[in-house]
Symmetry: C2
Subunit: 229 residues, 2 copies
């Protein structure tokens, strides 16, 4: 057992090295995405706010010009990939076996399982965790923070890093908002404080409310940015 | 930048040292709890499944023989402690400023803010995260995994570590279960697989359904175990 202060310092140093290494690999991924005309979203949120259901709904609504592939990140089980597979799109499951986030190296490893030339959109569902995945760049164009109205309106203030780093927020499960004490006032005040530029889509992935706007935004992103258009 | 393999090894080594150090401190905490006749619960769950509301409801329902203190763990803000304070019980907020879990050292630091001789129950609400807090022993008698019915029934299979280490599970927000596709069959099958001994309380901290059983269990724990009885 090493001494406490040196342990703290060693922790910080290793973490810096880990993040530094990850950033280098993320740059490599960015080049691969660019070379293949891929737009990439990294979906981050707690367990159970509906990331997989959001992906299912999104896949169902996308027009034929959008060619999505999906990477599912979970600590254990291939359940989410099995759900996506039913929709007929290429999907790969990453099981982190304990790790609380995806990293760029894990993504690099599974990219070879896709025919990237046949895709123009890559949707990455991170491990269910509102904290740790925020720090790990996967080379994505946007981090999308997914939150559920049932989780409560105080989350941007309590978990500022992800709300700060995200370009887009999906506020999901608005169909249940009437059964909760969710305060839009508090939610948007918090967002104004941590990231006034954050683009928010309120929707219900389950009943479809608001999904059109989200899909329109996503399609615009790809059809304006993709080389396969 | 150090090489990848040695970075991985260093990461593992530092993590082992961090957990080893934490375990030693947790043993110290256990002694302090024992010497003061304290039962200690460590509440772990994702952001927004209702840990703070569960604590509020619990405090309201406890009989006068139970003398609880509360430690609130959050990355940022003192919002949760402010909510507990209104109920007139001693509470201390820990803001981890980025860290994704509480550790034993953080608890040791704030224990001096309580008059432990005047308590027989310490309720610790961990940072909202279903993954990382599972590994850090706070010297507690029980880890309580708090999950919401709205999060979905597939969580024990996907986040097995916390369900395996917990002694008790609170399945919260059962008042909303009818609006979700939560499957009790899947949920209890998963639990049977990861931790058949897990004691589950189904309740709604908001409308009070099932709270009595949870509080009865908690009171029994304290009144049978406490030296201040």
């Amino acid at each position: 057992m090493i001494k406490e202060e040196s342990l703290e310092m060693e922790k910080v140093k290793v973490m810096e090295d880990v993040l530094g290494k990850n950033n280098i690999m993320a740059e490599e991924l960015r080049k691969i995405y660019r070379n293949n005309g891929l737009q990439v979203l990294n979906l981050i949120g707690s367990p159970g706010e509906g990331k997989t259901t959001l992906l299912e709904t999104t896949l169902r609504h996308l027009s034929g010009r959008i060619l999505p592939g999906v990477i599912e990140g979970d600590i254990l089980t291939g359940r989410d990939a099995a759900r996506i597979k039913k929709l007929g799109r290429p999907v790969v499951q990453i099981e982190t076996r304990g790790a609380c986030h995806l990293d760029a190296k894990m993504i690099a490893k599974v990219l070879k399982d896709f025919d990237l030339q046949k895709l123009n959109l890559l949707l990455i569902e991170n491990v269910g965790n509102l904290v740790c995945p925020a720090s790990f760049d996967l080379g994505e164009d946007f981090k999308v923070v997914v939150i559920s109205a049932v989780e409560g309106s105080d989350k941007p203030g309590k978990y500022p890093e992800i709300f700060n780093r995200a370009g887009v927020c999906v506020l999901n499960k608005v169909d249940l908002i009437g059964y909760t004490n969710f305060s839009r006032e508090e939610f948007y005040e918090d967002i104004e404080h941590v990231n006034p530029q954050l683009k928010v889509f309120e929707l219900s992935a389950t009943n479809g409310t608001g999904v059109e706007k989200w899909v329109d935004w996503l399609e615009g992103l790809i059809l304006n940015g993709s080389k396969k258009d």
